[in-house]
């Protein structure tokens, strides 16, 4: 039996905010994307030749530790990598926009907001502390040439109310008057109010309390469905990704090492990093003694190996080939894995099938 709290129930049945009719959820195709950072040691790749297809209408989670390149990848989708970083090669095709990497100047600015909504890491700090939320909303509208600002405010209010807040009061508030959960909702509202169809959430629940986190995740899932979005969620917390996403991409050392349906990736992880990461999470169910730390530590830009597999230092399945050859991502049954050991076991399995 599931017990719904009364307040939560009323939030759930509040009228839906009508999704705009014209747009449909866009798909995203990242091809061979390489993003480098200039350092005293030369240009080092934060994202190294990543290819990733995000199906329209899905919620995809990008999971990784610090230095995995997940935030850099997310920023690349907006072509918003800041110096000393730069996109060195590859393309990011977004339906209805084309290759974002080639966009520049005003086109890019218009695309952000209209097509792409970005909810920043720690939305706490992405609001201007000196202006009310409403003023910032109007600034956003003006900079995107919105004619009907009244309608914009109305949409914003609807969105905020949809997320369980008092819209008028929030628009009149300054950042410091809002709790963490309320700020995060404002962040989501600002990302969606111009009818963006692709939404990128960067660590949306970091620094939020457990219960607030659960509420925000529920809102993300519901809004995603109601407005027909394509959603990308970047997080270091596998649990958060597991709770909301349909598909999961696991990043390590600037590579996507595993990508597939969330249920399958978590239920039967293939890549040794994914396996280790899941085993390293203390859980509430099952035998806690089975939780095991992953030895070693994640690489930084400076310690990333230049040749071979980026994970080999910590890998229990390490082979000779891992020293020299970077494993290619191979797709098998809707799941993509970049690992020599997994590749080998697949090929032997296939040979056995044919035998």
């Amino acid at each position: 039996m599931t017990t719904n709290f009364p307040q939560a129930e009323s939030a759930a049945v509040s009228p839906l905010v009508a999704a705009p009719g014209h747009a449909t959820a866009p798909g995203v195709r990242v091809k061979d994307l390489t993003v480098v950072y200039r350092t005293p040691l030369g240009e080092l790749p934060a994202v190294g030749g990543v290819s990733l297809t995000i199906e329209p209408g899905t919620i995809t989670g990008i999971v990784g530790e610090s230095g995995s390149g997940k935030s850099t990848l997310a920023l690349s989708l907006l072509n918003a990598v800041q110096p000393p970083g730069r996109i060195k090669g590859g393309s990011v095709e977004i339906d209805g926009l084309g290759d974002v990497v080639k966009l520049g100047g005003d086109e890019l600015r218009q695309a952000r907001g209209r097509h792409l909504g970005y909810v920043f890491q720690a939305a706490q700090n992405s609001l201007n502390p000196l202006k009310t939320v409403g003023k910032q909303l109007l600034d956003l509208g003006r900079s995107h040439g919105v004619d009907d600002l009244r309608a914009l405010v109305r949409d914003a209010k609807d969105l905020l109310e949809r997320m369980g807040l008092d819209g008028a009061r929030v628009l009149d508030s300054h950042q410091h008057e809002l709790s963490g959960g309320m700020r995060q909702r404002v962040g989501i509202m600002l990302a969606l109010v111009l009818n963006a169809q692709l939404v990128i959430l960067d660590e949306p629940t970091t620094a939020l309390d457990m219960i607030t986190q659960a509420t925000i995740l529920r809102i993300v899932r519901e809004v995603h469905k109601e407005r027909g979005l394509t959603t990308l969620m970047v997080t270091h917390d596998i649990g958060v990704a597991a709770e909301v996403t349909d598909r999961l991409a696991v990043m390590y050392g600037g590579r996507v090492v595993e990508h597939g349906p969330t249920m399958e990736v978590l239920g039967a992880p293939s890549h040794p990093y994914t396996r280790g990461l899941i085993r390293a999470i203390p859980r509430l169910s099952g035998d806690i003694a089975e939780a095991q730390a992953l030895p070693g530590r994640p690489p930084t830009l400076g310690t990333l190996p230049t040749a071979g597999c980026v994970f080999r230092e910590r890998c229990p399945l390490r082979m000779d080939i891992c020293e020299t050859v970077d494993p290619r991502p191979l797709t098998h049954d809707r799941r993509t894995v970049a690992c020599h050991a997994v590749e080998r076991s697949h090929s032997t399995a296939e040979q056995e099938e044919y035998a």
Partner: protein, 335 residues
Amino acid sequence: MITGTGITKTFKQRGDVLGGRDVRALRGIDFAIEKGGAVSFIGESGCGKTTLGRIIAGLESWDSGEIVIDGTPMSSLRPRRRQPYFRKIQLIHQDPYSALNPTRTIYQTLQAPLALRARQAGRPKSWIGERAEELLSLVGIDPGYVLGRYPHQLSGGMRQRVVIARALTVDPEMLVADESVSMIDVSMRLSILALLKDLRERLGVSVLFITHDIATARYIGAEGELYVLYRGQVVERGLTESIITGPVHPYTQSLLSAIPVLHGLEQPGPERVVPTEALDERHADEGCLFARRCPFRTERCEKERPALVRGVEVAHERACFHPQRRSVIPVEAVA
């Protein structure tokens, strides 16, 4: 053995000249931590768990109530004389970046407390270096690698190990770990938790674990005791494993229900409640503190404050008029 009875603490908020609003951080808390025990305080931010941890570590004063350390009531001592008692309780900070002085090498960091110790115990100077190496090995790092380095040259996990080694320089009886792994990379968190667990088992150091993440509390000591704090009050208290599998207070149930389910590995708990978030920061101070967010509240809850009492059918102590055991945590998916 450390016990506290009726600990209260109110923070005076600076308002205007006419006075400000007071924040009641702790409203009369009792606790007892055995030697070698594992105790966890859990709750959301603002519940008072960090304040209580800091009071126990001697870093914060309290307004009323008594703390007894190894049989000595602290109220009988002047604040200056309490230091040797509180030194047995060392706090491991949440942030390993600010917990180490960036201008001092790891050797210098460990040397200062060890030198003090050597002077007091009349040990030779050579002991300091030996002990520093010994402690670093104990926390699982290579002394030769870190001793001459500055904190910025170490990873977050290593820094946290150094912080633990520094706490061990004074041979503490208890470590207070306040969200000690929340700023460390996910793949390395468990190794720090394992270290704390190991120190407890091998050295008999008790661990007070302060966290919002119940699963980590379970890892540190499922057989230990768990205190669930809400707005400065203990609302449920009992054996960690027992509370996790069958919480009776609606707040504990909300907290446990809010933990993300690892779909594919787990299924949502059968009685998972949809937790309500506290959007309105202004709370009534009348009746049960949780009443406004509670799905099971009755008229009585809004008028009377329930006390922390031991139950009959479930052995947890709880501060609730309508306690009922519910199974809310995820269950393992059947493969």
